[in-house]
């Protein structure tokens, strides 16, 4: 098949939170330039998986393996994972009062590029470009991170951050939720700008709508902590039409047989 390199992969990942196993052995392999989507009912473990992969201390990975560009992800803490090229766009981005968006991002870019003077020198220009790309008013540069932002503004800023940091793998947890129709287009444009060439994307979503703008290579259905079905973009359409019950039913049968 394809001789593309794997950017990001995990296998048989188990996650525990608050003493419960909420992710029960899931596997995935994302190659360069690929976009994968995860869909699934509320509470099925999508955010838990995303948080655990990003290194959130409350989400313990109790089994499995995960690799980013051939490096063992699970050996790293959240900082190291970010520096290795993993980016999580949060379902509920947090406010950091007193820290301006510009300063916040400058430090993040500095952390990524270390002593690379050039990256810091072009920071302003780059930031300006990204503000334009995501159609965010430049006044946001001096506002405190997510402090008093509307739901949609927060999501936009998550993607702006991603565009600034240009990660190898972006995990987007319901970035499309809470966006109006125009915003969805703009944000999709931002996402697509990152999903070029060597990068991979993992999109968690409830709606096939965003997939009109961002073409997934694969769609995974997550239920009760497991991936229960895999398909192409047409699977998203089918889910939109029929909901999850039919998969649930099929799965039930499979278990009973």
């Amino acid at each position: 098949m394809s001789d593309k390199k794997t950017v990001f992969s995990f296998s048989d990942i188990h996650v525990e939170v608050g003493g419960n196993e909420v992710v029960k052995g899931v596997s995935l392999d994302i190659k360069e330039g690929e976009i994968h989507a995860i869909m699934g009912p509320n509470g099925s473990g999508k955010s838990s998986l995303a948080n655990a992969l990003a290194g959130h201390p409350s989400y313990e990975i109790t089994g499995g393996k995960a690799m980013i560009y051939g490096k063992d992800l699970l050996e790293m803490d959240a900082t190291e994972r970010a520096l290795a090229g993993l980016f999580l766009a949060f379902q509920y981005p947090l406010a950091i009062p007193g820290v301006t968006v510009a300063n916040f991002l400058r430090a993040a870019v500095k952390a990524k590029h270390g002593g690379d003077e050039e990256a810091l020198r072009s920071f302003r220009k780059n930031l300006k470009e990204k503000f334009k790309l995501l159609e965010v008013d430049t006044s946001f540069a001096t506002r405190y991170v997510n402090d008093g932002f509307s739901g949609g503004e927060k999501k936009r800023l998550e993607i702006l951050q991603m565009a600034m940091l240009d990660p190898k793998i972006g995990i987007l947890d319901e970035t499309d939720s809470g966006l109006d129709i125009d915003a969805l287009k703009v944000v999709s444009k931002g996402i697509n700008s990152v999903a070029t060439g060597k990068n991979g994307l993992l999109l968690v979503t409830h709606y096939q709508r965003i997939l009109n703008y961002i073409k997934p290579d694969k769609v995974h259905v997550m239920m009760n902590g497991k991936f229960v079905r895999e398909g192409g973009p047409e699977l998203a359409l089918e889910l939109e039409e029929k909901g999850y019950d039919w998969i649930k039913a099929e799965n039930q049968q499979a278990v009973e047989v």
């Binding site: 803490d77 947090l94 950091i96 007193g98 820290v99 952390a111 405190y144």
Partner: protein, 434 residues
């Protein structure tokens, strides 16, 4: 214990100088009697709930009884010229005589800026008019001790109608003895001054104990900016009582930054003494290791249409402790006052502890008043958010702390902000060993 037998037996009281005026000798001997007779503050009292009074008791106090101020160890010719960014400069080490410098323009303005003992000799009437009027001999046991035995300090008198653009910089260093400094500041009607009272103790690295009193008078329409960074040596103990009194339409803006000392107890108060007087206090406290801070602030509205605001932010790590009590007092007949008070505490780890106790004594209902206090740990979700963007844990914590303090820094006038930022940054970086 020496200190205990001393408080029982009476020691003959001696003058601090051969030509000491009678009024001062009387005042000081009354203070001495008061100190001898006053009980140690009871720890049941709210203001002493967290801090042991005996920590501030001097040893071998009889040695202080007749101490005359010692000449400065710095010879006149060794004193560097006044830096162009300051209007005046004063330097005081331990119980040595303060040396002061004035800019050329100020020399003929009628300003007095001298060692406090010298001022008693040179300007006895002026000193008599103000000394002890806000912190009297019977203010409290430790204040009485200060009044009885103060033997170093500065006197600043700014006549009416003088506006200083540049700050007056006071460099005050306790040394390895029991220090009893006193600072007296008078700013005349319509005058304007910025005073930086740098209370720091890097002179030598030996433990010391200091009992300090600060009295500040702001005349009608005066504007005082009083910046008070406390960066005392980590092994030291420090007891400070500060009172400011602001007359009609006068404005007092005070900033205190508490970073140093092992144990420090600060009682900081501003009295709004005239119609329309204004006071804003900003406080930043950053403690680590086993530092113990006990701060009390007070805004006393004695006149109508006066305004006060305090914003006091505390950051603690390791096993540091901060106890804060903030009093707003509005008298019965003083109507239409506004008073605000906020104290936020950020704890960086489990061992750190903060107490916050607002106190309101508001005796009429024609006021606008609000107060708030919060104590909380650093939010681990915030730390994760920053780490997920490539911040190290240390950087994440530092960023959150800087953000916590940021709204306060923006309230600091622009020309003083950089200085504040540097001080906080220094402690922040030090705190993480970088």
């Amino acid at each position: 214990m020496i200190t205990e037998t001393l408080t029982e037996q009476k020691v003959a009281f001696r003058p601090i100088a051969e030509n000491e005026p009678d009024w001062l000798y009387d005042l000081r001997s009354r203070a001495w009697d008061y100190f001898q007779e006053a009980e140690m503050p009871s720890q049941v009292e709210h203001l002493w709930k967290y801090t042991k009074p005996k920590w501030f008791m001097p040893k071998e106090i009889e040695k202080k009884m007749s101490v005359l101020p010692v000449a400065s160890e710095i010879k006149d010719e060794e004193i560097a010229p006044l830096k162009p960014e300051f209007a005046a400069f004063g330097c005081n080490h331990g119980d040595r005589i303060t040396y002061t410098q004035l800019s050329e323009e100020l020399k003929s303005s009628g300003i007095v800026f001298e060692d406090i003992q010298k001022a008693i000799t040179n300007h006895p009437d002026l000193v008599q008019k103000y000394l002890g009027r806000l912190i009297g001999y019977d203010f409290g046991k430790f204040e009485a001790l200060n009044m009885a035995l103060f033997n170093s300090g500065m006197f600043l008198y700014l006549p009416p109608n003088i506006e200083l653009e540049k700050p007056i910089y006071m460099h005050r260093h306790p040394d390895d003895k029991y220090n009893i400094p006193r600072l007296l500041v008078v700013v005349g009607d319509n005058s304007k001054a910025t005073i930086i009272d740098d209370y720091a103790g890097k002179a030598n690295d030996r433990p010391y104990n200091a009992n300090c009193a600060v009295e500040i008078f702001g005349g009608q329409n005066s504007q005082i900016r009083f910046v008070s960074p406390q960066n005392l040596y980590k092994e030291s103990r420090s007891y400070v009582t500060q009172r400011a009194q602001i007359d009609q339409h006068g404005r007092m803006f005070s900033i205190f930054v508490s970073l140093g000392s092992d144990v420090s107890k600060f009682n900081l108060g501003t009295i709004l003494n005239g119609q329309g007087a204004y006071s804003q206090m900003l406080g930043i406290l950053f403690g680590d290791e086993k530092q113990h801070f006990d701060h009390h602030t007070m805004h006393h509205h004695k006149a109508g249409e006066s305004f006060s605001n305090i914003d006091f932010k505390v950051v603690l790590k390791d096993k540091a402790l901060s106890a804060y009590t903030g009093l707003i007092k509005i008298d019965e007949k003083t109507l239409n006052c506004e008073a605000f008070q906020e104290n936020r505490n950020l704890l960086l780890n489990k061992g750190a502890r903060a107490e916050s106790i607002p106190e309101l004594e508001i005796l009429n209902d024609q006021v606008r008043c609000s107060h708030g206090a919060t104590v909380g740990p650093i939010d681990p979700e915030m730390v994760f958010y920053l780490k997920s963007r490539g911040y190290s844990t240390d950087e994440a914590v530092r960023t959150i702390v800087a953000g916590f303090i940021e709204p306060l820094l923006t309230a600091v006038p622009e020309d003083l902000r950089q200085m504040m930022q540097n001080m906080v940054q220094f402690k922040l970086n030090n705190g993480t060993g970088e």
